[in-house]
Symmetry: C2
């Protein structure tokens, strides 16, 4: 089973990487960019028997820092 | 317009971060994990008039390293 975990910074947490990308896009002449937030994506290939609780557990224990980050789990098929 | 850009390493490109996560998950007792690939996600808030070509251009020029990475653009509404 393919699972995608998206880890993004919580609202209000400063995102210097996103700001740098935003600035660079403007420098390259791309206008109309209002906001940029950078995060991580982790693509997992797990056994079909893996439960939602186990996936949640993986995110909480390792993949995301729950103090400053949110995660979203998306299953693909 | 909210746009999500997913940047992942091409197949065949070594992914030490993914391997480290895989190893750590096994160390934490999660079995049944077959593969882990790590990547980046960039969430853009762009003007509604931004064309697909412009988004492609942003990815090719800045967001992804086309030599070793693939990108996928996903629009949300």
């Amino acid at each position: 089973m393919k699972v995608r975990v998206l880890v993004t910074l919580k609202n209000g947490v400063l995102d210097p990487q996103g700001r740098a990308i935003h600035h660079a896009l403007e420098g390259l002449g791309f206008s109309g960019v209002n906001d940029v937030r950078a995060g991580r994506v982790i693509e997992l290939d797990v056994a079909d028997t893996t439960s939602d609780e186990q996936l949640d557990d993986m995110c909480r224990k390792l993949l995301a820092n729950m103090v400053i980050e949110n995660y979203r789990i998306e299953k693909a098929g």
